[in-house]
């Protein structure tokens, strides 16, 4: 019972983290440093966007 609880909760949590990380990766500028994304940073993707992430990467 405890084992099943641990397996289910942690695997679902890992999937949740992966989905959230994937979503953030598309929207957050790569070197933003604040606790929440700055609107100005998101509006200016070419100056702050991740120079290491091409559209090809995202569309893998």
């Amino acid at each position: 019972m405890i084992d099943t609880f641990a397996i289910v909760t942690t695997t679902l949590a890992v999937i949740y983290v992966l989905l959230r990380a994937a979503a953030f990766d598309r929207t957050l500028p790569w070197f933003e440093t604040g606790e929440t994304p700055f609107k100005s940073d998101i509006d200016a993707p070419r100056s702050n966007a991740d120079p290491m992430q091409s559209s090809k990467t995202r569309a893998l």
């Binding site: 695997t11 890992v14 070197f31």
Partner: protein
């Protein structure tokens, strides 16, 4: 069968999500490496090379679709690659060839993947996701072990975690070390989690996980675990700006342990002070003595799994005939590396630890007065404490080639590269006023 099918579904789901970006496949590999679905499931996955498939997919997708702005070559990268070549060379003339190649096969994966990680894990989001996946995957073992310890009191050699085989986290000393080094990371996530939005529930979750981790390490009744806990407490206390409060918290935890630990735990822990008179400690001391003789005979190393050839002689003054023990483990990561890979390999291993510590110190120094990079400063501190824990525990258990070490080396490199890119980009592109604003945070 239901568990096996469920884990197969989860593996395929993680693989599917991973296809959207190489860093997600890298995180999938971390989940496989820490959770070990092939050891938790009873059918199907044990017959599938889960780690190889997702690891190859991560590296392959990076090479085909990503490959942009790779990290600078660091001392950690160079030393790890030289170490990989060296352990391969020592395996060629191992004194126990068959088991040596078996261990080479899994050890080399941890080492090489740690070189790859900084290529795929680059942004703050990706670094945090790595730590989240690492901690949550560990939690799969911490939750059952911790809860069962609270209910039953635990026990030395008692299998209470998810993995019942005598490998990876089925070995209690390895599990206890992995758990203890996770404590600083859990505390870090309480302050800086963003992927899982901060709030009361996540704080309770991470805090509860810390308590279950302590219960797990106590429940294993491993002496190395107690030493690791003390190292973690000492490291966290030194890093804390609220030393009095933290000292009071540690005192309360200590009192709770003293009040609730079973008699068997006290018996195990009190044997530390018996030194060579304790059977287990006497075996360790003999084994380390044997290792020094081994390295004198094979200064370039005797290859992986050389301990299988060990013969320890214990004089029996009263009975006359000495007692012999064969094939005892090294009981220390440092003696493990020294015996298996000689003085050069030992030097490389120490250099890796040293380079990682220096890298983390450098990150902490660079980010000290930058509130916008407070998360990087705190993470550097947390990783330093984790490294201190794994080095301390590693002095008493053979984990020199477990990913526990190599993930910390890799994360040190990731963090340093992130901070370098941020500071360079800020310096190159932003006017002075906005640079100060951005690094000062919102």
């Amino acid at each position: 069968m239901v568990r096996s099918l469920y884990l197969l579904l989860i593996y395929l789901t993680i693989f599917g999500i991973g296809l959207s970006a190489p860093f997600l496949l890298t995180l999938g590999y971390v989940w496989v490496d820490i959770f070990h679905p092939e050891n938790v499931a009873w059918d199907i996955l044990p017959d599938v090379p889960v780690s190889f498939l997702i690891g190859t997919a991560a590296i392959g997708s990076y090479l085909v679709f990503d490959r942009q702005s790779p990290p600078r070559v660091s001392a950690i990268t160079v030393i790890t690659v030289v170490f990989v070549l060296w352990v391969t060379a020592t395996t060629l003339h191992a004194i126990a060839p068959l088991p040596a190649w078996w261990k080479w096969d899994w050890a080399i994966k941890s080492m090489l993947f740690s070189v790859f990680i900084p290529f795929a894990i680059r942004s703050r989001n990706q670094i945090e996701a790595f730590i989240q996946v690492y901690v949550i995957s560990l939690a799969a073992n911490i939750i059952p072990f911790g809860l069962k310890t609270i209910i039953t009191g635990g026990g030395y050699g008692t299998s209470l975690g998810l993995i019942s085989t005598n490998s990876v986290f089925g070995e209690q000393d390895t599990l206890a070390t992995a758990c203890t080094l996770g404590i600083p990371l859990m505390l870090y996530l309480i302050r800086h989690t963003r992927i899982i939005p901060r709030g009361r529930l996540p704080t309770i979750g991470y805090g509860g996980l810390v308590l279950l981790t302590i219960a797990t390490t106590i429940g294993t009744q491993e002496r190395a675990a107690l030493v690791g806990l003390i190292a973690a407490a000492g490291g966290l206390w030194l890093k804390s700006s609220k030393k009095l409060v933290l000292a009071a918290v540690f005192a309360a935890i200590g009192v709770a342990i003293v009040a609730s630990a079973p008699a068997a735990w006290w018996d195990r822990m009190s044997s530390i002070s018996e030194g060579a008179h304790d059977g287990s400690i006497a075996v360790r001391l003999k084994m380390w003595e044997w290792t020094m003789d081994l390295v004198a005979e094979h200064p370039n190393g005797a290859g992986f799994e050389a301990y299988r050839k060990s013969v320890l002689e214990f004089p029996q003054p009263l009975k006359g005939e000495p007692r012999f023990e064969y094939g005892r483990a090294f009981h220390s990561s440092f003696f493990e590396v020294l015996g298996e890979h000689g003085w050069f390999g030992f030097g490389l291993f120490l250099s890796l630890i040293g380079a990682s510590f220096l890298t983390l110190r450098s990150v902490a120094r660079q980010t000290r007065n930058l509130p916008g990079l407070a998360w990087a400063h705190d993470l550097a501190g947390a990783l330093e404490v984790s490294l201190l824990v794994v080095v301390t525990c590693g002095a008493f258990i053979s984990i020199g080639f477990q990913p526990l070490f190599y993930y910390i080396f890799a994360l040190s490199h990731c963090l340093r590269e992130y901070v370098r890119r941020v500071l360079n980009a800020q310096t190159a592109t932003a006017p002075i006023e906005s640079r100060a604003y951005s690094l000062a945070g919102p």
